[in-house]
Amino acid sequence: MTLLIRRRLRSAWNGFFALTGWELGRNLAFTSVGIGLLAAIYLGFFRLLSYLETVPLIGELLLWKLTAMMMLATFMMVVVSSLLTALSTLYYSYDLKFLMGSPIGIRKIFVDKSLESLFFASWMILLLLVPYMAALIQVKGYGWSFLGAFLWLAAPCLTLGGSVGLAFTLALLYLFPSSRTRDVIWVGSSLSLTAVYGLVRFSQPERLIRPDALMLIVEYLEYLQAPTAPYLPSWWMTAGLSSLAQGRPASFAAYGALLWCCAAVFYGALVWLSGRLYFQGFSGAQEGGSAKRTLAIRPLLEPALFWKERLTFFRDVKHWSQILMIAGLVFVYLFSIRRLPLDNADLRSLVSFLNIGAAGFVIAALGLRFTYPSISLEGRSWWVLRAAPLPVDLVMRQKLLFSAGPMTLIALLLGATTNYLLEADRFTAWLSLGSLLLITWGLCAMGIGFGALFPLFAVENVHQIESSLGGFIYMAASLFYVAANVIILSWPMNMHFQERFGNAAAWDFRLLCIAAACWIALHGLAFLLPWSLGRRKLEGLAA
């Protein structure tokens, strides 16, 4: 086992020292951007927690309730993420044939691959939680040893979350080694997950945190004090941390022991089971697709690249499951908008405007999953396009069109339906919808551009592309782009509101021109800079 770990450390070491000065400088520059984003998240949480701290009587309860919800969300995200990474890491890694053919025990190979899967499923989610914990420590004055306590509890908690995906995949491949059955089960599982997510949301849990929805103040206090999902490790982690904060180290130690014991037992059981199940699943996974297919008819007017994108995308069953989840997400999003307690026309228009930011964030997240990886997903077949008589720009344009079409539809659905549900006034409705559509195209252009700037043709699964440095930078740039759009558009929106409130001289055309210039510059930068840098990178890159 130490040999397997040493090879990883040696590869990482060699990879780092093989970086040229320019590559190192570039990575440092982009890492600084990422750290800037984490700092911004920290500031946001710091303000929120500082406010909660000032709420009389229930401030402390609200703060820990929020912490419990954060931990629950993190745990659930790791579960979903591990479901996505486990299959490719455990069964389709490029070095598995070598490892399986070596005189290494099957359980050791499982441990090696499962730790890799756990790492990729959780590192970015954990990293995004660190600013929250840092803000909590600052606001409450817990001291930095509290961060160590958090990491001590987070390790077994996230191991448990990631082990869910490992267990599901191990069982699935053992029980259904045939690829077709496996695909059907995989999609069925995703559908169930989407349905559960929808059901939880449609049960309107937000009614519980609105004091006016409860009969008595006592009920509200009871809700705040009650555990959030008490049987899940995320609650044990929250309870452990709150115990430490309240000066009860014994309770903290007990929750820590509970988490570590459960993680050891659950993961240990998986390792033991892998001795019986892993090889059979691996053997079945090698059989590949054997289904007979007929020649797909290509419409005459559809460009060849677009046709290829369509076929390869829709034939990958992993995409179907994610499309189902997106459908669930869109419905839940619109349901949440409909349930917003807004009884004022001005407030509704304001929310419709702010929807640019919320829907823009959703599009950016989808862009990270679907648009950004599209260049890297050419994988080792990239030579086919590189050797073909095609300019790189054309390949990028076709990928942009393939991605931007469905994204525009989603943006249209989120934007237009929200405006309809909120009965936004005409100016706000057109401003928010128009800018959301433009932002969508900007995010897609950035996705293709950044994807070309940081291509990873030799990865094993799409999750590694998303969670790479380039993916992180794309997400940071996207969030900045969406936020900058909202800030710039808030100037004309402000004038519009002043006019609504009766100010006859609300429109300041000088300020409007400045806003328009900033807006054009922002979009020009978003559309052209990553695109041209990415194109140049691909043109100079070896296939």
């Binding site: 040229t20 590949g288 697709g289 054997s290 289904a291 007979k292 297919r293 007929t294 020649l295 797909a296 290509r298 005459l300 060849a304 046709w307 290829k308 076929l311 390869t312 034939r315 990958d316 994988g379 080792r380 077949s381 030579w383 086919v384 396009l385 590189r386 050797a387 073909a388 008589p389 095609l390 300019p391 043109e539 100079g540 070896a542 296939a543």
Partner: protein, 250 residues
């Protein structure tokens, strides 16, 4: 034809290709030999437009690969050392895709794709996803894509790897037939027997530099070993005899 002049490729301090100049005429099969790490695949990638040279020029069928890459690539067919093709396309769809990329007429595609699949014994698998193909089947599929469009210049990087004897023989027939029709063939191989039988001229490269080039007879004269086979020539030119002392330890 292919014209390479003053080609250099450096990766940091390593000189992978060192001042390479050569010319492959239409109808000629040029064998490119050398030990592992000699810079052969780097050269192939530069000729095919997959890699930019540090210095030098590559002209393919009259088009400069640096200045007119699209036109140059239209004339060129590449068979890479590892035939990775889109796993989620079927064999027939991949050929259709190649046909579209290189502008093969639709009628010709409809007629020739089934013929080519049969010819390469891929007919029964033409409707299956490439992910279920073996290495040899993928290699044959890439070759079928080359034959579909009959390029003016053919660049082959270890084209026989993974092919069964029957397919290997057919591949050799295809290369010689294309050469007879005027295609310039640049073939990188480790199989000296194939190079000896197929190639009109041979170049031997070590450590990025071309150390010998010419017909088999010219190489024999250069190595002062009349009547010897290519294997002996190759070993005498590349200094490969030292393995004999290592074998004594076995």
């Amino acid at each position: 034809m292919i014209e390479i002049s003053g080609l250099f490729k450096r990766f940091g301090d390593l000189v992978a290709v060192n001042d390479l100049s050569l010319r492959v005429e239409p109808g000629e099969i040029f064998g490119f030999l050398g030990p592992n790490g000699a810079g052969k695949t780097t050269t192939v990638r530069i000729i095919s437009g997959l890699l930019k040279p540090t210095e030098g020029r590559v002209i393919v069928a009259g088009y400069d690969m640096a200045r007119q890459p699209v036109e140059a690539k239209r004339q060129l067919g590449l068979v890479p050392d590892e035939p990775f093709v889109y796993p989620k396309l079927t064999g027939a769809e991949f050929l259709r895709f190649v046909g579209e990329l290189y502008g093969v007429a639709l009628e010709s595609q409809r007629k020739r794709i089934p013929e080519l699949l049969e010819m390469f014994e891929l007919g029964p698998w033409g409707g299956e996803l490439v992910e279920s193909y073996s290495h040899g089947m993928r290699q044959k599929l890439v070759l079928a894509g080359i034959v579909l469009r009959e390029p003016k210049v053919l660049v082959l990087d270890e084209p026989m790897v993974g092919l069964d004897p029957k397919s290997a023989r057919m591949a050799k027939e295809i290369f010689t037939t294309l050469a007879r029709r005027g295609t310039a063939v640049f073939m990188c191989t480790h199989v000296l027997e194939i190079a000896e039988k197929l190639c009109h001229r041979i170049g031997i490269m070590t450590s990025g530099s071309m150390i010998a080039m010419g017909s088999l007879e010219q190489l024999r004269r250069q190595a002062s070993s009349e009547g010897s086979g290519l294997e002996e020539l190759f070993l005498s030119l590349t200094g490969g005899q030292e393995y004999l002392s290592l074998l004594k330890h076995l």
